[in-house]
Subunit: 212 residues, 2 copies
């Protein structure tokens, strides 16, 4: 049985979502952020990186959700929601599976820059980060204008990875999708999935802390 | 035939390395950075993100090296240097394949913070980034004290992805590995591979620009 160490509110809700999509059992351990809004020491002690999500599977403790979702889908889900190397859309699948990491990098660098403003010392980094983020988000919107899902016709792990960036990051200073109509329709469509609704009710941004 | 759009000096040398390891033919198109040290407009025009590496394979133009190396190894390399889902070390493979993206995120956020110094506005981000980076690098050193390669006994794409961070980023303000003896021995060992030496001679940090 996989244990999901859930940091509320965080990206760890996507692992709950995947388990619900796959119909797999799991245990949820709930951690609240400290008064400084950071993960508490008990959470950071789970894994060397101290990041959410972190899961346990027997002796294995694993962080980094791009790795976690592939591990679960291939090891316990018969490869559901993944595309095989001979699938025509395999390169799209691999590329969009990395949207989260690319979007997060831009988000965090922008946060650091916004904290102090653009100066001569960080203007090159600000410029490349802005270019990269704008290119990526507009590419996403164009992609979703031509395909129902990021990898193409099928719902895949790319959705599991991308939704948090599109739905939750704007409240923390991340890029909004107000100018991206296809991304907006995509969120509406994907968020109607029963497993998504169930998972967000359990571990999403507004989910209540479970009774002890 | 795959075309590698090589931005000198950049992470795009890892795609050259992979092609040499697999013994696959490729074309290399060489781009120099501008006087501002950024990728030139011609490079940024290749792909929406404007990042290196970018490759072309027929009609497909692809960025994001974590995706690119898996695409090439699975589509053209019979899955060499990858681990299958039923391999005992599959979770290690997936996790360490993401070392590059995690290390790069910390590197870029730290660059942004170093440009202006730590203030009340960015101290939480500085703290979490430092914790994440230190945890990750020390986990890497511990891992390499017990295994010859990041995924375990076998050389995999994890090496192709990780080497740039360990060898080239310190010159740009990235974390050094002076205090990580196992990582130092790993670099020595991996950098003796004939394909690595050949690739670095063609596209590495000190490779000469090819004659036009």
């Amino acid at each position: 049985m996989i244990t999901i160490y859930h940091l509320a509110q965080s990206q760890s809700d996507r692992v709950v979502w995947l388990m619900e999509e796959l119909g797999l059992p799991y245990e949820l351990e709930w951690f609240e952020r400290g008064e400084d809004m950071l993960a508490p020491p008990e959470y950071c002690a789970l894994h060397p990186m101290g990041t959410a999500p972190t899961i346990r599977d027997g002796d294995l403790v694993m962080a980094e959700s791009t790795a976690i979702v592939q591990y679960i889908a291939h090891r316990y889900g018969d490869g559901r929601f993944t595309l095989a190397p001979d699938h025509p859309n395999y390169p799209d699948y691999l590329y969009w599976l990395m949207f989260n990491n690319n979007a997060q990098t831009s988000f965090l660098v922008n946060l650091a820059i916004q904290a102090t403003g653009i100066t001569a010392a960080n203007e090159n980094l600000a410029k490349t980060t802005q270019r990269r983020q704008e290119g990526l988000y507009k590419q996403l919107d164009a992609r979703l204008g031509e395909n129902p899902y990021l990898a193409g016709d099928e719902f895949t792990l790319c959705e599991i990875m991308a939704m948090t960036n599109l739905t939750a990051l704007p409240a923390f200073g991340g890029r909004t999708i107000d100018d991206l109509p296809n991304a907006q329709r995509y969120i509406e469509r994907v968020s109607q999935r029963p497993a998504y609704r169930k998972a967000m009710g359990i571990a999403g941004p507004t989910a209540p802390r479970p009774a002890p």
